[in-house]
Symmetry: C2
Amino acid sequence: MSKDAIRDKIIDAAKCRFSHFGYGKTTMAEVAGDCDMSPGNLYRFFPGKLDIAEAIATTDYEKHLTHMRKLAVTPGRNGPERLRDMLFEELRRTYHKLEKDPRALEMAQVISRERPEFANWMLANERKILVELMDESERRGEFVPSGDRETIAEMIQSATMKFRYPQLWSKLTLPKLERELDGVLKLIIEGLCPLRSQFAAMPQQQHETAA
Amino acid sequence: MSKDAIRDKIIDAAKCRFSHFGYGKTTMAEVAGDCDMSPGNLYRFFPGKLDIAEAIATTDYEKHLTHMRKLAVTPGRNGPERLRDMLFEELRRTYHKLEKDPRALEMAQVISRERPEFANWMLANERKILVELMDESERRGEFVPSGDRETIAEMIQSATMKFRYPQLWSKLTLPKLERELDGVLKLIIEGLCPLRSQFAAMPQQQHETAA
DNA sequence: AGATTGAACGATTTGTTGATTATTCAGAAA
DNA sequence: TTTCTGAATAATCAACAAATCGTTCAATCT
């Protein structure tokens, strides 16, 4: 059996255990047993337990990413609609994943605590899609260019942060979350001011800024 | 000594202990000792330890609230500027408070865990100010009316959630946080679309919505 | 009477011990 | 040689005991 095939077998066994008993309650010995090998042998394929979890999360997330990339260029939908499709898709995916498998939250929390760069990598991927979406949409005159697009993508992520972290949902149901995301998107897309130029060059602020 | 004066003495003693040793490491016996009374006597003035913390937070927050109300009607500044003043003030207050007294975070976390309605009360207060600000600004033609103002206030809070919870700051410095808040506000105020009417009536979405 | 105390009580926290676990690596197997 | 094993190790976790703490209330003081 090829090295990659063994890796996949390990990933499958771990995925099954993790979602059934949780990351913490799954031991390396158990995963090794499921694969008919010794615990020590796992370490020829993964540096450690966390890396198995990361591999699971990565393949899962990459599937999601390609879906998002598709939504970002769906014909027949304009820029704002595509942006909305993406963010709604992300919210729904997270919500349903958690509903189907509540133990996924534990794994997500462990990974983003012990491997913060993983969460950053996910956000960066999404930003890349957002930038492309905005570029494309701007050419069609749907978005107004207003500053660096990478920065705007960051701001969109910042404003929609709540919908990416289940810890912040405080028992809200999916319909309520969707209504809220809907409202935030409306705010972002339409803006509060009718005349953009009027307030475009706002003075920084009246108070001093900390060094 | 009047009942209120004793309450204040207790609050002062507790405030001192909480910010010096933390909420968890402060005992009722110590606070009572500082006030030259027995632990049991504290309960004639407060229902429990958490209520002392809540009283401290309340007076502190009410000072902040009046400041916010002032910023919301400062002459010579338009609607968006006032909105910005408010949200920047809130961010700075939280940041500096935490810098000066890192143990304040513990207290805030305990309160919002054990007394979620307190956090809701703070948000509701702020929303009331935001609604008044928008009402006033709309009369001056600075904001476009677009739906229920209470809802818009909720969405503003949702989009700026990150700046209200230090747990979400991940070591960011105040200047970085300010830059980010700045960007989010720009997004909210100006919006991504130049022509509001063009996308105002967006179809809900293409996928089904969960019941 | 009303105000205050401090011992008593149950809940929570802390400290400790033993078991479990992730990880390593010397050596066996192929 | 290369692949794998499983006992050894060090770190982490779980469970239990002891101590501490928030809270109560019968008794004491004013």
